[in-house]
Assembly symmetry: C3
Homo-oligomer: 362 residues x 3
């Protein structure tokens, strides 16, 4: 049997692929089905993200460790990047920025918290590699400072001009991507022995052949792009009818949808007592979005002629600081249990409640 079909058969998440044609059918038939399209496109993105993630890993597995690691690091959040690019094109800058903040918060609080809880319900105490967690926490902390400085400044009495914020954001984006590159160099080359136990390759489905993997990478990316466009178009109408602000959609819905594929892997690893892998996926994904996806979006928007700045709203800033502070604390430990999972999820729930009720103004 064809390896893709075989995988679809064994992985219930992929059964959601049925929603991909559904999105385009409904879209073609009706021009007023905003809310339906919103729900359908969310359901369609989840299995596509899973396929994309498998395709990336298959290519990475074939290309040797350093190149493979680089590929994983570059394409690991391709879904988030494609959705964000669609939103940028539609001029939904608030949504894009909210989804960047949301990805950091979701990956660190929800994905990590649920991993700790699911793992902790089976295993009394679980341990993981402190060094690797500290490395990711360091990258995330750097990103947080870079992302939040423009916001902190614009709160000062004498708010700077928009052009100043844009220049600053561009400079920060360059720095972030450099820092990300050096971080990759460190973890893949000079100090790779520190990251030994969190090997991605042992986990999950067997890799696809390289030809298939490359074809899937291109095809699925195109499909995700098409679905994302429908999603972004339908967001405003759907948000209004569900009583959600654009900030809420970006921070919670888009972030959860974009991270669905990674979550499946992280949760399954936690239940198998391989918490290193869960922590690596959750924190790695968060730092990748902050240090790679966010700068790329700044550059692309700059080339598109309407630069996106990195100025976030106060509640977003508070949420990101809280998330990164918690990661810093956690990475000092290296041990976890179900209560820590509950606590992380509680903080996530508090923030989700907050963003749901918060009157949207930006």
């Amino acid at each position: 049997m064809h390896p893709v079909l075989k995988e679809v058969r064994h992985n219930p998440v992929l059964w959601l692929l049925v929603f991909v044609p559904a999105v385009f059918l409904v879209k073609a038939r009706s021009h007023e089905a905003g809310t339906t399209l919103f729900v359908l496109s969310i359901l369609a993105v989840v299995p596509l993200a899973t396929l994309l993630s498998h395709a990336t890993e298959s290519v990475a597995a074939k290309t040797g460790d350093a190149v493979g690691g680089l590929l994983n690091a570059t394409l690991g959040n391709l879904t988030e990047l494609v959705i964000a690019l669609a939103a940028l094109r539609a001029g939904q800058y608030t949504l894009v920025k909210a989804s960047i903040a949301g990805a950091i918060v979701t990956n660190t609080l929800f994905m990590l918290g649920a991993s700790f809880l699911l793992g902790g319900l089976r295993h009394h105490l679980q341990e993981y590699n402190r060094t690797s967690a500290r490395f990711q926490a360091g990258l995330l902390f750097l990103a947080t400072i870079a992302l939040l400085i423009p916001s902190a400044i614009s709160e000062a009495d004498s708010g700077p001009s928009a052009s100043f914020t844009q220049t600053l954001s561009l400079a920060l984006a360059v720095m972030l991507i450099l820092a990300y590159g050096l971080g990759m160099f460190f973890s893949l080359t000079t100090h790779r022995e520190l990251f030994g136990s969190s090997s991605h390759e042992e986990e999950g489905e067997p890799p696809w052949p390289i030809g298939l993997a490359l074809v899937m990478l291109v095809v699925v990316t195109v499909v995700v792009a098409l679905v994302s466009e429908v999603f972004v178009e339908s967001v405003q109408e759907a948000a209004a009818s569900f009583g959600m602000t654009p900030a809420y959609v970006g921070l919670i819905v888009v972030a959860l949808v974009g991270a669905a594929a990674e979550m499946a892997s992280a949760f399954s690893a936690a239940r198998k007592n391989r918490l290193d892998l869960s922590v690596g996926i959750a924190l790695g994904s968060a730092s990748q979005i902050a240090l790679f996806v966010a700068p790329v979006l700044v550059f692309v928007s700059f080339l598109m002629g309407r630069p996106m700045d990195l100025e976030f709203t106060i509640p977003e800033v508070v949420a990101v600081i809280v998330a990164v502070f918690i990661v810093a604390e956690i990475s000092n430990d290296g041990e976890t249990n179900w209560l820590e999972g509950v606590q992380l999820l509680s903080v996530y729930l508090i923030l989700a409640i907050l963003f749901y009720f918060l009157p949207g103004t930006h």
Copy 2:
């Protein structure tokens, strides 16, 4: 000799019980003795809190470990709760909220700092159970986020409506009390082996017989309630004549008075080189007020028809964040000396100076 009389004879703090009748005598005689009543009621609360604390521990000691732990956790800050309820009834919402923030700050900075200093003056280096301290720090951190989110939000340009803040506060109160319950379940049931060394029972006076303990619990609570009413009535007049703002009274005076009984135990344990016990009392008391007393006050005020929100002033927010950050740092260590005590006390003194001089506006 009757066990209560015997205890009064041996514990000088209880000699202050003489101020209990004094409060009611002065109250009956004069209607303008605000300042005198303020001082007398403070002096009267201290020995009552000590009795209440002993009664609670006696009941707890008789009812087995899990139920006893639950009782201790629920009634351990009964004095603070009764004072706060009296203040709620008198409509002194600012005072109540200030005393919640003050209890967190006082327990973590003053009680912990003085314990470290008193212990450190006798013992060169002292150690304590990191795991237990981290557990309390986690609870406190969760509470801080929940308590401070409404305040952070209302600082945003577009201040939300009062009803939004109240709904949010109610939702947060439910979450906090759930988190507290799960924390109790964790420390008393699933992971109780982690908390071995900080056994409460070995310390202090022998427990009273269960009948006496129950009677004392009820009687002393009623007396505390009566004294609290006098205290709350006299606060405004006294604060004015001492040049103190209501925020200062709540943050510093009420918090110190409410914690007097716990402090006696914590300091004595520190001098006996049993720092686990001191840290447990100080942090346990702080997290109990944040995760149990504060939500209960929100519920009660809601039932009273005028809900209290959890929006704090900026200086209160800064003080709580500083306190919780310090606890997080300290709990990473597990070792202490006299200088750490001095540093914690210095931070407390800085905050106390600040709140004393701060012009009251609420």
Copy 3:
């Protein structure tokens, strides 16, 4: 050969002494050479700071450990103190306060980051004494709270009066200097065994004879004072012509110049894999400026009749909090590598970019 001449011959930094007469020559000839004088005086201060630092160490080496430690602790940042006093006399309060914040940020992020990077390029992993780093982090944290409280308060809706801020600043200055004294007492007397490995004496040039050292201490201080006066006079003109704000000059330029001598020692120690020494110099210098130099400047300005308060601008506050948070994180570890150095330098660069572009308003 005379020991001072011998040292000049072997230490290329001291060749910059040629700029000392240059400053006074240019100053005497022309009254409009602001920019030239600015550059010349910066170049002249660097070798003078090196001589001053050597003189202090020579005196300290002769006077026994406790007194020597005290001397080092008091005079170690004499250059910064003399420059700041010159700026105070010229009424440049913004510059002085910026240079205090800048010294904390520069010492913790730039000096520590460059030490980690330089050391890490030679040595795969480097270790240092956690206890000593935690001690300094504790002092710094205390100072940060004291320095930032007035700023946090004045951001509250009801900004307090200037006289309140000044009284508060004076009280905080007294507390800081007391805390510094107790910290010295702790590290030099009661717990000196904890600080064993970071012995200053083994490092660097052989000490001068005590007579020579004392003469040099006085003479060089006078010369630094004279050069500082020229520097402060020329700042405004030069800043304008380089497009720098006074805040930028204080935070980045003055801080880097003042720390030049310490940096040379810290970097050389890091390359010799003596990271304890580097960390000790960087953090020690930061806490000395925060807990000793800043309070002395408050007292002196008070005696001069126009008290300096400790209210900082929001960007300064953000920068200091970021720096101290990073120090707290780092001191939990005790191990470093080149990437940590890069990350610290990146944060420094982000802040430097920020302050360069920030429109100066205060």
